[in-house]
């Protein structure tokens, strides 16, 4: 738990100073890439893919880390809220026929589901140890998977994009990029900025930070800590729902879609430092980059050393290990994560 003053600094999330290593790396690759036009185009596109994936992961990890850092609760069912966001959006889109309207409704719906879950289930888990959290929320995860199967069936549903989002746009001469993925980048950045303002510059944010530092004291000062926790959990749920509904047009809504991505979100909270939203932001971007660029360029690198067949078989396996290797290195070098919340 952070104490009052430090929490203010650490629960913050803007990324004014990315680590120098990252900058040098990016600069090196960019110079190398600019020597060949086609390689450059590909490189810029892959960087955008990395940023988009990273920002999406941030939405998931932010909710996870907020809930863990402030309420000391391990929530395995966070991925279920991501899944619900996708299903709600697809359903509302089919009802209303409007993508934007459906997204807003789905966001509200996951917020409500999140707060309901907090009131009915999570409250009973706060005082108990982490093993109980894991068991309880794992049960919730199974419950949501089955509930979705009962309501929507096992096949999954699609969320078609409106035509104005379903086309590529020219971002630089010769470089086309999916309009939808660009929109995602813009929206997630806006959400990150909103979170920053909310946590750092509003009364609710102040209470959240105070509640994180000393729950009892805030309660003694007359603040309804129960309501506050419900709000925080709802906020985390809405963020997960937002991530889910934004992924739905790319992946389609599927049962269990939250489980694989939740593992990566946990990796991010560990790399960024548990409880730190700023850490989650930085770690998400790093992980997004490492994963996407690893997948994109690692096979070519391996091909220089191994035979063609061996390289194309080994590359996906190795590149999917990269983020876990990164986590292992971070755990050895900085066990509290890159941007730890000071104790």
């Amino acid at each position: 738990m952070p104490d009052g003053l430090d929490a203010r600094r650490n629960a913050a999330m803007p990324c004014r100073r990315p680590p120098a290593v990252l900058l040098v790396g990016i600069a090196y690759f960019t110079t190398a890439a600019f020597s060949d036009r086609q390689v450059m185009t590909l490189f810029i596109e892959q960087c955008l893919n990395g940023v988009q994936f990273g920002l999406l992961l941030f939405l998931l990890a932010a909710g996870l880390t907020l809930v863990f850092g402030i309420m000391d609760l391990v929530n395995l069912a966070h991925g279920s809220l991501y899944m619900l966001g996708a299903y709600f959006a697809a359903t509302f889109a089919a009802w209303t026929g409007s993508f934007v309207f459906a997204a807003v409704l789905a966001l509200a719906a996951t917020l409500v589901v999140g707060m309901t879950v907090e009131v009915i289930v999570m409250r009973r888990l706060y005082g108990r140890d982490h093993l109980d959290h894991v068991l309880g929320t794992f049960g919730l995860l199974l419950f949501f998977d089955e509930a979705v199967r009962l309501i929507w069936g096992p096949a999954g549903i699609t969320l078609p994009l409106p035509p104005w989002l379903n086309t590529p746009v020219q971002i630089l001469p010769g470089i086309q990029y999916s309009a939808y993925r660009l929109t995602l980048i813009g929206l997630t950045l806006a959400t990150a900025a909103f979170l920053n303002v909310l946590v750092m510059h509003t009364r609710v944010g102040m209470l959240i930070r105070a509640g994180a530092s000393n729950r009892e004291m805030v309660g003694a000062l007359g603040v309804n800590i129960k309501v506050l926790f419900t709000l925080v959990f709802g906020l985390g749920a809405a963020l997960a729902g937002l991530a889910g509904l934004m992924q739905a047009p790319i992946f389609t809504a599927q049962i269990g879609m939250g489980e694989n991505i939740l593992i990566i979100a946990f990796v991010i909270t560990v790399i960024g430092g548990i409880g730190s939203v700023r850490g989650a932001f930085m770690a998400a971007i790093i992980v997004g980059f490492v994963d996407t660029l690893g997948r994109a360029f690692f096979p070519d690198l391996l091909r220089l050393m191994l035979s063609k067949d061996a390289a194309s078989t080994a590359a996906p396996a190795l590149s999917s290990m990269l983020i876990y290797l990164l986590m292992a290195v971070v755990l050895v070098v900085r066990p509290d994560g890159l941007f730890p919340v000071r104790k």
């Binding site: 047009p249 994109a296 590149s319």
Partner: protein, 391 residues
Amino acid sequence: MRKDLLVASAALMLAAVPAVAQQKSIKIGFISTFSGPTAVIGNDMRNSFELALDHMGRKMGGLPVEVIYKDDQQKPDVGKQVTDELIESDRVDFVVGYIWSNVLLASLKPAADSKTFIISANAGPSQIAGELCSPYFFTTSWQGDQTPQAMGTYMNSKGVKSVFLIGPNYAAGKDMLAGMESTFTGKVVGRELTTWPAQLDFSAELAKAKAANPDAIFVFYPGNAGVQFLNQYAQAGLKDKIPLYTSFTIDELSLPLQKELALGVPGAQEWVNDLPVPANKRFVVDFQKKFSGHKPSFYGAQSYDAANLIASAVSATKGNLSDKAAVQKALEKADFQSVRGDFKFGNNHFPIQSFYLQEAVAEEGGGFALKTVATIVKDSQDSFHEKCPMD
């Protein structure tokens, strides 16, 4: 209280009396994926298998049939575990099913070692067609290289000069891309394998394909991954630029989700629901009747054939399944009406069969359907059968 215990233990003892040597019923273990996003495929296979049993009055060779369904969770270790369980504790006469080649590869040994007949209703890895072939293994599907080989042949005829290949990194993915490369006469300008089944974002691979600027892209993405691939292929703006050719990416289960994105994307298949074969008409019509208008998929057709293949062997041996050599002989004859027409096995117990070009079309009144467009190859036999020592 004591009386209850006595009754209970008596009942238990009765249940534990060993089955008499005479075969009283046919016991079949059916392994497929019944949980997670690909459970849709498992359900379709189970539905088709059940329909086949309905069609034969739920009896094979006059004996009642009992089927035990088990979920492999799309994981090789779980698949092997439930295969062991079915063989050792349920003592089934046949194990059937298997969508995924990696699950089948893990499950082959326990079945073959215990001399239990194992019948694949989908997966067809090259290893089992070749050096790992077994007298106890049969398949009613295909060998994984064959379908993309047909696609490669078709692409040659369309004058495609260069191709970029994308597929999942597991046994079937490698077979599919290798099969495609073996018949395609143009240049393969890139080859990407993705982490399976976890990776659903193909943006990095699509960007590379776009940069390589080939005449065509060829993919193999079964199940929900096929839906996600087509979505992202369209969103990346490639739909009007680089034509897509596929195998096992568009089927009756994924088509309702892919919708218009599947239009104009060719695929190769050994069975399409409109094949003009009497057994097939009965299968497709009754399937739609029984399962609220849903059309069966090729996974289902292969499962339906698997049930009929087993029934043919049970009838031929008059239910005497302890004579393994006789059962094997009967299975090799494939004396049943397949939904794809004539059906015969090669020396490795893989079918020798035709492959068709299929395309998605929009139906009147909404909805989409798959139609046979042409026959690409006739009597195709897999290229691994020579490595199989059986004759």
